[in-house]
Symmetry: C2
Subunit: 224 residues, 2 copies
């Protein structure tokens, strides 16, 4: 097996790549990396896995890659990735690329930031972040989720129209993340809710498998 | 002329696309959009240029595109873009993609944020941001510039090794931005400084042309 995926299922782009590979039936060796234990910060990881010391990382033989979107494009060129994920048709590919480039500083940045500040920060420091600061992070996230509802999902059942693409998978994995904190992204956002259900159903069982730990934590947080 | 570029030379990715097109001798119609006047916020812009109401935007005939990196990839597929900017070779393309994906939440996010908070915020509100908050934004930017120096530029004269690529052009346009505030990104970063000089020289005269307004403001800010 030439392909190795280094991942943590609590990392959003790790989940996206894990689900992509599994549902595309591209064989790969699973190399789980426990971020909570700092497994990516060792010299061994730096020297042998990735000098950037993050997940996800993919090795294809001795060719090492980081950045999930860069990896997605490599898989589309080099492996048997079904075309619908990342269309070869030039104009449809632009639509997928537009979202994948937009999401970094929007749905990814804001949902991850809220997750970090609301959930990771207290875990690490034993303290809650000041409510005022937290409210700012929450507002940025909510503005962004609103633009998913009103802008990106305004033209069809999926982000790029009427077909599932990698844009949906990457987005869904980000939108799931704040659920860890007990926040429900679909409340007041019926279009986003229907879309998320659609993705969950279509990409199962691997979607559920990749989100099992997250779902468990989310359930606990909702009760708390 | 089928290609139109909507841009503002004070927008980093606008400059990157402007320089890319000019230096690649790809003809395009220049459509300057004055962000400072909110020209992108009109209904006319929303309906006829881009529903996302940002710059840069490219129209190829009636096909409308946003997100500079998505546009770069389209130009590499569809127009006569020299191969060195965005190599067709699969593994070299991964290296360019890795940086272009990384920069969104790093060199782009942090340099732009500092520029917004230090320069735009006082322009709009008539007040300075609290020094403590500003110091946080500055620190994030400096950490990021340090990782350009020690990580991304550690393996050669350019981000992806020994050849100029779009990664360098996109990065340089971001690294220039905080100069507007009077901040000099190359102080204490000799590798970054030599790299920036190299890019400026190689991509002239269009690099200088695109940065003329920025350079003028930077000179004033340095004196202030």
């Amino acid at each position: 097996m030439s392909l190795k995926l280094y991942f943590d299922l609590l990392s959003q782009p790790s989940r996206a790549l894990y689900i992509l590979l599994k549902s595309s039936k591209i064989p790969f060796e699973e190399c789980p990396i426990a971020l909570r234990k700092g497994a990516q910060l060792t010299d061994e990881y730096k020297n042998n896995v990735s000098r950037f010391q993050k997940v996800p990382v993919v090795h294809d033989g001795d060719f090492k890659m980081t950045e999930s979107v860069a990896i997605l494009r490599y898989l589309a060129r080099e492996k048997s990735l079904p075309d619908y994920w990342y269309p070869k048709d030039s104009k449809r590919q632009v639509r997928v690329d537009e979202f994948l480039e937009w999401q970094h500083n929007n749905v990814r940045a804001t949902c991850a930031k809220y997750f970090m500040k609301k959930w990771i920060f207290p875990l690490v420091t034993g303290q809650e972040l000041e409510p005022e600061k937290l409210a700012e992070y929450k507002q940025s996230m909510e503005d962004c989720l609103d633009s998913m509802e009103t802008l990106w999902l305004a033209n069809g059942n999926y982000i790029c129209g009427d077909k599932l693409t990698a844009a949906d998978l990457w987005a869904a994995c980000e939108v799931e993340q704040p659920r860890v904190t007990g926040y429900d992204p679909i409340v007041g956002r019926p279009i986003l809710g229907a879309w998320l259900d659609r993705i969950r159903t279509e990409v199962d069982p691997h979607y559920g498998e990749a989100h099992a730990i997250l779902n468990k934590i989310a359930m606990k947080s909702q009760k708390a």
